[in-house]
């Protein structure tokens, strides 16, 4: 029963994606919608992502300072650990988990609401490929904007680590900067962008799927919104693990 249900949803998801990435009726309309989505997803998420990133960096710095206290590990390692842990894992994963909550639930509710109010039927009857018009701009916008948000989150996290450790006397300014500049590996940046692209794709398409096929009333719409977040989070964590295995 469970497997057949999974296969049913997976098949329907694949079919929706195939329809979603077919030729647009009019490029200018899709372009305009993509810009609108970039604004909603990107600018609309700046504050929450920035705020979380500051604390991620700050907490990482404080925690590692506590762990390394009394050990022979040099203190500047804290800067190095903050940099790498945020770039490799915390910035892409935590940011995208948060975005799954903020953007994913919003997407599912928006498309689900359109389904319930017969907006999607109205577009279908006009001849619009609704899967394409409603899904493609969101996915493209997310693929552009979320890696930028993640990169910004990584940068802010490193600043957060600085703010939590230098002014409080955990280490000197020079030590933190030395740590941040030590043992840098470019492939970590590649991994961050790979993760953010994959996570962006997961959170938008899963949320679109949940909204697009919603049936019933407000309770079902609420469930679809919740499912969008829950399934996106699970798949993001699963993808995180797989990418970690493949790229390290």
């Amino acid at each position: 029963m469970g497997i057949s249900k999974f296969l049913y949803h997976f098949g329907r998801y694949v079919l929706m994606m195939r329809t979603a990435f077919s030729r647009p009726e009019k490029l200018s309309m899709y372009y305009r919608e993509t810009l609108r989505q970039m604004n909603d997803i990107g600018i609309g998420s700046l504050i929450i992502v920035g705020l979380i990133a500051v604390f991620i960096g700050a907490v990482t710095a404080v925690q590692f300072a506590y762990q390394l206290e009394g050990s022979f590990v040099p203190r500047y390692y804290i800067g190095y650990i903050v940099r790498d842990s945020t770039i490799i894992e915390l910035a892409p994963t935590i940011s995208c988990l948060v975005l799954a909550g903020k953007v994913g639930s919003n997407i599912a509710a928006e498309i689900g609401g359109m389904r319930q109010k017969e907006h999607i039927d109205a577009m279908e009857i006009m001849g619009v490929n609704t899967a394409a018009y409603l899904v493609m701009p969101k996915v493209i916008a997310a693929l552009f904007v979320i890696p930028m948000l993640v990169a910004l989150a990584a940068f802010i996290s490193i600043i957060g680590g600085y703010l939590a450790s230098v002014p409080t006397g955990l280490m000197s300014d020079a030590e933190y900067v030395l740590g941040v500049r030590s043992f840098f590996e470019q492939r970590n940046i590649t991994m961050m962008f790979v993760k953010s692209l994959v996570f962006a794709f997961i959170l938008t398409t899963v949320s679109c799927y949940q909204g697009y096929y919603v049936k019933g009333g407000s309770i079902e719409l609420g469930k679809a919104s919740t499912n969008a977040v829950v399934f996106s989070d699970i798949l993001i964590l699963l993808a995180d693990y797989l990418i970690a295995i493949i790229l390290t």
Binding site: K117, E118, M126, G127, V128
Partner: protein, 253 residues
């Protein structure tokens, strides 16, 4: 003209439509009437392609509507306009943007041409000057008229209306009925209306089919309604003793 040929539709075990064969003529207001659960909405959704029949065929003139590829289906849909029960106007767009949406999506008209077309459609439904209002800022009757304006903006050959009078007062219902009838006659389009409204039946019913338990129980026009001895029709149209007395009075005259 639209023709259905022995159309069946089931959802699981439940058989909703049982062999519907009928014709909807151009230049006429074709009404589908029947009690709740009779299958009216399902039939309308089949006609516009939102659902597929379990068996049977639907013809748009000589085109088999159920076996079209995506491109041909889109070409037919460009000729279709639909007014939804709840209007289905896009909340985040103004009245003008709602009406302009099909023009933006499917035409290469200039901004000026689009604006002229939108204003013509608004004028046609007697709603000049509401371009910048949002649907939430307009009344139910106005929303229906904006819905009609959007439905006719691409000059459709087929117009479908799902319960166009639901939630409207009798006076506004008459305005909407008149509007639909005049557009139908003016453009000689095929209009199919799914309705419960008895005033619509008696005023604009050029071609009426009565659905009962998924089958056509009666067909005729507005003048034949009064004289019909079909018990299902009489129970449906003249459901109350008051309406029954009205019918008797009308027949006596």
């Amino acid at each position: 003209m639209i023709r259905t040929e022995n159309v069946f539709k089931s959802f699981g075990e439940a058989e909703i439509l049982k062999g519907i064969s009928t014709e909807f003529y151009s230049g006429q207001t074709n009404l589908i009437i029947g009690r709740s659960g009779a299958g009216k909405t399902v039939l309308l959704k089949l006609l516009v392609g939102l659902l597929s029949p379990t068996s049977g065929k639907i013809w748009y003139n000589d085109v088999d509507f159920c076996n079209l590829n995506k491109r041909d289906l889109r070409a037919i849909r460009m000729k279709v306009g639909m007014l939804f029960q709840a209007s289905a106007l896009f909340d985040s767009m103004t009245v003008e943007e709602n009406i302009r949406f099909p023009l933006d999506m499917f035409t290469n008209m200039t901004k000026k041409e689009k604006l002229d077309r939108v204003n013509y459609c608004l004028e046609r439904v007697s709603l000049e000057g509401v371009n910048s209002k949002f649907p939430s800022e307009t009344s139910g009757g106005m929303q229906k008229r904006v819905g009609i304006a959007r439905a006719i903006v691409l000059d459709p050959e087929y117009l479908f209306c799902d319960e166009p009078n639901s939630g409207l007062d009798p006076k506004t219902s008459i305005v909407i009925d008149e509007l639909i009838r005049s557009i139908t006659e003016e453009k000689q389009i095929t209009t199919v209306i799914n309705t419960h409204d008895m005033n619509s039946v008696m005023e604009i019913g050029d071609n009426i089919i009565l659905l009962h338990q998924g089958e056509i129980a009666w067909r005729g026009n507005k003048t034949e309604v009064l004289e019909s001895e079909n018990q299902i029709l009489r129970n449906f149209i003249f459901a109350s003793p008051f309406l029954q007395r009205l019918r008797d009075t009308a027949l006596e005259k």
